[in-house]
C-alpha cells in the first residue's frame, strides 16, 4: 500500500479564490457581492431621489454656477475682491481666510501650549496648579461657547474707538476690532529680503558642514558667531546701504474712528483668541505627556556621561519626547484648522461661512458647494495623515536601526 502524497490543489484556483474573496474564500465573495448590491441600491436611491427633488425645485445641477457673479460683499479678503466677482473667487477668498486664521491660530496655540506645559511641569506648586486649572477649564467648555464668549461678551464690552484701550499708542483695541500699525513697503525691502534669504541659506550650510565635521571626523567646530553674523549682520548691512525695508504707519484717531493703520476685524480677533487658547490647552497636555513619557534614567544616564543639564535635555530628552509629541501635535493642528470652520457662527468670512453659507443660500447649489467644501478639508486631513504615516515609518526605521 503506497502512501502517495495528496495532489496539491491548483495554484490558480487558490489564487483566484484569494483575490476574489480574501481570506474567507468563496463565502467572502458572496458577502462582497451582497454588499456591493446593497451599496448599489442605496446609491441608486440617492441619485434618483436627488434628481427628482432637484427637478421639482427647479435647480440645475452642475458646476456652471461657479462662473456667475456672486453679488455679495465679504468684509475681509486677502486678494482683491468686489461683489461683481465670480463664485470661484469667493471660494478662494474663503479658503485664504481659513488658511490665515489657521496659521495664526497654530502659531499662538503652540506658544500658549508650550508655556502652559512648562508651567504644569514646573516644580513650583502654584504655577503647576494654575496651569492645571487653565487646562481643565478650557478643555471642558465647548469651543463654540468660547468663541461666542470672546465675541459677544468680551469684545462687545470694549469701549468705542474714541476711548480705545491703547498699548504703547501703537495698538488700539476697541469694539470695532484691533487697530495695528500698517506696514508700508520701502525700496529697501527687496535687498533686505534677499540678504535675509542668503543669510538663512548660509546658516543652514554652515550647520550641515559642522555636523559632518563632527560625525565624520570628530571635530567640534564653533559656528554660532558666523551663524549670527549671517542671520543678523547681512540684513543689517543691507539696511545700512538701501535704507529701511518697511515703515509702519501709526494709526491716528480722527473724528470717531482711526485713520491710518490696519484694522483687524473683531471676528478675526475673537476666533483667533478662542482657537489658540482652546487648542493651546490640548497642546499643553500633549507636551506634558511627551516629556513625562521619557524615563528618568535617560536624564541620569546623560549626566553620568558628563553632559550638562542643558545638553542632556537638548540631545537626549527632547529628541525622544518629540517622537511622542509630534503625531498628536499634528492632529491638534489639523483639529484647529477644522475648528476654524466655526467662524460661521460669528460671521468671520472663512470657507464655510462665505461659500457653504452665503453662496448656498444664494444659489441653492447645496450638493456641489458642500461637496467642494468637504473636499477641501478632506484633502487637508488626508495629506496630513499621509505625512504623519511617513513620519511614523521613518521613526520606526531609525528606532530599529
Amino acid at each position: 500500500m503506497s502512501i502517495a502524497p495528496r495532489k496539491p490543489p491548483l495554484q490558480f484556483a487558490l489564487r483566484l479564490k484569494r483575490a476574489l474573496g480574501g481570506k474567507t474564500g468563496w463565502n467572502g465573495l458572496a458577502a462582497q457581492i451582497a454588499f456591493a448590491a446593497i451599496l448599489a441600491w442605496i446609491a441608486y436611491e440617492i441619485v434618483a431621489n436627488a434628481r427628482t427633488n432637484l427637478e421639482t425645485q427647479h435647480i440645475a445641477s452642475g458646476f456652471g454656477f461657479l462662473n456667475y457673479n456672486a453679488g455679495f460683499d465679504v468684509n475681509q479678503s486677502l486678494i482683491a475682491y468686489n461683489n461683481s466677482d465670480t463664485y470661484w473667487r469667493v471660494f478662494f477668498v474663503g479658503l485664504l481666510n481659513t488658511i490665515l486664521v489657521s496659521v495664526i491660530g497654530i502659531v499662538f496655540a503652540t506658544v500658549i501650549g508650550f508655556i502652559v506645559a512648562l508651567c504644569r511641569l514646573s516644580p513650583n506648586w502654584l504655577l503647576s496648579r494654575i496651569g492645571g486649572i487653565y487646562v481643565e477649564i478650557v478643555r471642558n467648555l465647548p469651543l463654540l461657547f468660547q468663541i461666542l464668549f470672546w465675541y459677544l461678551a468680551v469684545l462687545a464690552a470694549l469701549p468705542a474707538p474714541r476711548q480705545s484701550i491703547s498699548v504703547f499708542s501703537t495698538f488700539f483695541l476697541n469694539n470695532r476690532g484691533l487697530v495695528v500699525p500698517q506696514p508700508v513697503t520701502e525700496p529697501g525691502l527687496y535687498p533686505f529680503m534677499a540678504a535675509l534669504a542668503v543669510g538663512i541659506v548660509a546658516a543652514l550650510g554652515l550647520r550641515h558642514y559642522a555636523r559632518r565635521a563632527l560625525f565624520q571626523h570628530g571635530r567640534m567646530i564653533r559656528i554660532w558667531p558666523y551663524v549670527l553674523g549671517c542671520l543678523v549682520g547681512l540684513p543689517l548691512v543691507s539696511m545700512l546701504i538701501f535704507g529701511w525695508p518697511l515703515k509702519f504707519e501709526l494709526p491716528q484717531l480722527k473724528g470717531f474712528n482711526f485713520a491710518g493703520g490696519a484694522r483687524i476685524i473683531p471676528e478675526f480677533v475673537a476666533l483667533t483668541v478662542a482657537l489658540s487658547t482652546y487648542t493651546g490647552a490640548f497642546i499643553a497636555e500633549i507636551v506634558r505627556a511627551g516629556v513625562m513619557s521619557i524615563h528618568k534614567g535617560q536624564m541620569e544616564a546623560g549626566s553620568s556621561l558628563g553632559l550638562s543639564r542643558a545638553a542632556t535635555l537638548r540631545l537626549i530628552v527632547v529628541p525622544q519626547a518629540m517622537r511622542v509629541i509630534v503625531p498628536p501635535l499634528t492632529s491638534q493642528y489639523l483639529n484647529l484648522t477644522k475648528n476654524s470652520s466655526l467662524a460661521v457662527a460669528i460671521g468671520y468670512p472663512d470657507l464655510v461661512s462665505v461659500f457653504a453659507g452665503t453662496a448656498v443660500s444664494q444659489t441653492g447649489q447645496a450638493i456641489e458647494i458642500i461637496a467642494m467644501t468637504m473636499g477641501v478639508y478632506l484633502l487637508l486631513s488626508l495629506t496630513t495623515s499621509a505625512l504623519m504615516s511617513v513620519y511614523g515609518w521613518r521613526i520606526n526605521r531609525s528606532m530599529a536601526a
Binding site: L127, V352, M374
Partner: protein, 506 residues
Amino acid sequence: MTDISASSFVRQELVAERAAPAKTTGLIGFLRTRLFNSPGNILLTILGLLLAWYIVIPAVKFLLVDAVWVGKDRTACLAEKAGHEVGACWPYIQAKLTQLIYGFYPEAQRWRVNLSYALGAALLLPLLIPRLPAKGLNSGLFFLAFPVVAFFLLHGGGIAGLGVSWTAGLLQLFEQSIGGAGDLLVSLSKSSAIAPLFWVLGKLLVLAGLLIHWLIFPLTWLRDQLQVSSQPVWGDFLVTAVIVTAVLFVLGGGVRTGRSALIGSLLTFAGIAAGIKLMGLDRGGFPIVDTRLWGGLLVTLVIAITGIVASMPIGIALALGRRSSIPLIRIFSIAFIEFWRGVPLITVLFFATYMLPLFVPGNFAVDGLLRALIGVAIFTGAYMAEVIRGGLAAVARGQAEAASALGLSWWKTTSLIVLPQALRYVIPGIVNSFISLFKDTSLVSIVALFDLLGSLRASFSDPNWSTPTTAFTGFAFAGMIYFVFCFGMSRYSLFVENRLNAHRRH
C-alpha cells in the same frame, strides 16, 4: 584594666547637637520646598500669586459681591438703580431659566420632559457604578428601550401598527424601488449604446421586483387585514409577539434548551405591551410637541444621548468592518471612517441639513432635529469606530484563536469573546468621545436649532434684559452647566481607567 584604659580613648562629653535639618513636611516645609526654594522660584510664585489675584478677585466680585440677586427687569441690573457697580445679573437667569432648560416646550407638558430626565438618570446611574449587578439588562434598557420611550414621551403621538406593519411597509418600499430601477433601465435602453445589456438588466430587476412582491404578499395581506380590524395595534402586537417568540424558541434549541429564550422574549413583549398601554400609544399617545418648540438643555441632552446611543452600533460595525478579511467591506469601512473623520462637524451638519433632504423621496419632510441627529450620529460613529478598533486590537489574539479552536463561529467568537473584552478596555475612550460629543452639540445652534448655547444667544437679544453685564452673566451660567457635565464625565473616565489598570498599580 589600667593598661586598657590608658591605651584607649573614651570620650567623656557628648558631641554638640547638630541643628535639625530644614523641615520638609507640614505647611512651612511645603512652602520651602515647593514655592520658595530658589530665587527663580520665588519670582515665579509671586508672578503666579499676582495672576491669581487679578483673575480670582474680579471673578468673585462679579459673580457674588457686586451681583444683583432680585429684580423684575433690566432696570434692576443697571448701575444707576443699584447704586453701585453691577456684576452678574441673576434675575435675568431666573427669568430665562425655563427657556434655557426646556426651550418653548408648552408649560402644561413639561412634566414629560422632567419624567424623561428622571428615567434617563435612573437608568444611567446604575450603569455607571461598576459594583452594581445586571449590567446586561441595564444597558439593554438604556440603549434600546429608553430611546424609544423617550421619543414617545417627548415628541408624543401614537403608533398605527407594530412589527408586521413596519416590516411589510419597508419591504414594500424596497420592492417599489427595485421595480422603479428596472423600469428606468428599460426606458434608458432606447437611447444608450449598450442598449441590450441595459434592457436585460432592467427586465431582470423588474422580474426581481415582481418576485419580491409575491414573496412578501402574505405579510402585506396580513397587514391589510390587521389594519381594518377593530384593534390594529394590539392585533399586530399579538401576531408579532407570537412570530418572534416562536422563531426565538426554535432558534434557541426548541423544547430542550429554548426555554430561556422563550421566557426572555415573552418578558420583553410584556414590557413593550406595558409601555404601549401606559403611554396610550394605541389611542394616539400624548399630544404631539413639534421639535421646533424644543430647546435649551433638552435639545443638548437629546442630541448627546441619541448621538452616543446611535454611534455605538455604527462604531462597532465599522470597527469590525475595518478589521474584516473581506476586502470590499474593509475598504468601504476605511473610506467611510476616514471621510467623516476628515471633515469638520459643521460641514457634516450642513450636509445633513441641506443635502440629506434631497436624498430621500420628496414626500418625506425630514424634521430639522432629526437631520442634525443623523449628522451627529454618523460623525460620532466614525470616531467611535476608531476608539473601538483600539479596544479590538488590545484583545490578545489568543482569545479569538482559543474560541475558534473550541469551534465557535466568527459571530459567536466576536460577540461572546472579543467584543465584551474590547468594550471593557475602551470605556474611558467611549466616555471621552462622549465628552467631545457633548461639547460638539453646541454646533447645532448654527443650523437653527436652539440648544443650550443657541437659547442663550437668543435670550441676549431680549430688549427687556439688555444690560452691560447680561452677556457675561449668561455665559457664566451656561459655562457652569457645560463645565459640570464635562468635568464630571472626565473624572469618571479617569476613575474607570484607574480601575481597569488596578492590576498594574505598584
